[in-house]
C-alpha cells in the first residue's frame, strides 16, 4: 500500500565534531544545527514552489496540503492557497511534469 512517507527525501547535517551553526547564525542557506549535535530528518518537495523543505521533527502544527495535486506544500504556499491561489498548470510541479515529460 502506498504511503506518502515513500516520497520523503533525507537530509543529514552533522555538526557533532564542529562548532556548528547556532540559532543566532542561522539565516538563508544555513539551518541551525549547533555544535556537538546532528540533524537527521525527512524532506519533501513543495509541489507549488519546488523548494525542498526539511521537516522539523519538533513541529506540532499541521502542514499545508494541496488536494488538487495530493501533496504537501510549504508554509508560504499554504498561505497562498488559503488566499485562493490554487495550484494550476503554471504553478504545480506535478502537473508540469505530466505536461512537459
Amino acid at each position: 500500500m502506498f504511503s506518502k512517507r515513500e516520497l520523503e527525501g533525507y537530509v543529514l547535517i552533522d555538526h557533532r565534531n564542529s562548532p556548528g551553526v547556532s540559532h543566532e547564525q542561522a539565516q538563508r542557506g544555513l539551518v541551525a544545527v549547533p555544535g556537538g549535535t546532528m540533524l537527521e530528518s525527512p524532506t519533501f518537495l513543495c509541489s507549488r514552489c519546488q523548494k525542498t523543505i526539511i521537516l522539523n521533527p519538533d513541529r506540532s502544527r499541521s502542514r499545508g496540503y494541496c488536494r488538487k495535486c495530493d501533496h504537501d506544500i510549504c508554509d508560504g504556499c499554504s498561505l497562498m492557497l488559503k488566499l485562493n491561489h490554487e495550484c494550476s498548470l503554471d504553478t504545480c510541479y506535478h502537473i508540469k511534469r505530466i505536461t512537459y515529460t
Binding site: 551553526v21 542557506g29 525542498t52
Partner: protein, 171 residues
C-alpha cells in the same frame, strides 16, 4: 537516463549575493540545460567541511538562476563532472557544467532558492538525497529560472574550504 556526478575536491566558495554575476571559481558549480527540452533531476547533494582550524559557517544555496550562463562551462582546478556508470550512453546534448563561464556568468535568482545546503566548514557535513524522481529539484530546458541552476554560497557567513559532489540524472 544518464546519471552523472559533479565533484569538487576542495573549494572555498565566495559569498555572492542574489542577482550578482559570479566570477571564475566562486561557485561550487553551475548546471545549464543542453537543449530547449532537456529535463534533469538532481538526486543527491553532499558537502563535507575541510576547514582546518576556524569556525566557518558556510551558507550554501542550491538555486535557480535568473541570468543564464552563456558559453562553454569549465571548472577551476579541483572540479569535475563525469558519468557514474562507464556503460552510460553518451548524451547527444549533455548538460553544461562548470564554475567558469566562457562568455557570461549566471546570476542566482532572488526567489527560487530550492534548497539550503549550509554547513559549518570546520568539521561539518551536509548530505541530502531524494527518494523519488518526482521529489527531486529539476532543471528544464535553457530558459531563465528553469534551465540554469547553481550551488553557491550566499552572503552573511564566513565560507570555508569544502569538498563534495552532486548527482543528477538527465532524461
Amino acid at each position: 537516463m544518464a546519471r552523472r556526478i559533479t565533484i569538487q575536491k576542495g573549494i572555498t566558495p565566495a559569498a555572492v549575493a542574489d542577482t550578482t554575476a559570479f566570477t571564475s571559481g566562486q561557485a561550487f558549480a553551475f548546471w545549464r540545460g543542453g537543449s530547449a527540452t532537456q529535463y534533469t533531476r538532481f538526486w543527491e547533494i553532499s558537502l563535507s567541511g575541510l576547514a582546518a582550524s576556524t569556525s566557518s559557517p558556510t551558507p550554501m544555496v542550491f538555486a535557480d538562476d535568473s541570468t543564464i550562463s552563456v558559453g562553454a562551462l569549465t571548472f577551476a582546478a579541483g572540479g569535475g563532472d563525469s558519468y557514474m556508470d562507464p556503460f552510460t550512453a553518451a548524451l547527444a546534448a549533455p548538460l553544461n557544467v562548470g564554475n567558469i563561464a566562457a562568455t557570461t556568468f549566471p546570476q542566482r535568482d532572488t526567489a527560487n532558492h530550492k534548497m539550503q545546503c549550509g554547513l559549518n566548514a570546520f568539521g561539518g557535513v551536509y548530505f541530502w538525497r531524494g527518494n523519488r524522481a518526482e521529489e527531486c529539484p529539476a532543471l528544464y530546458g535553457t530558459a531563465v529560472s528553469l534551465g540554469d541552476m547553481s550551488l553557491s554560497s550566499f552572503t552573511g557567513g564566513t565560507p570555508g574550504l569544502i569538498s563534495g559532489h552532486v548527482i543528477y540524472e538527465t532524461s
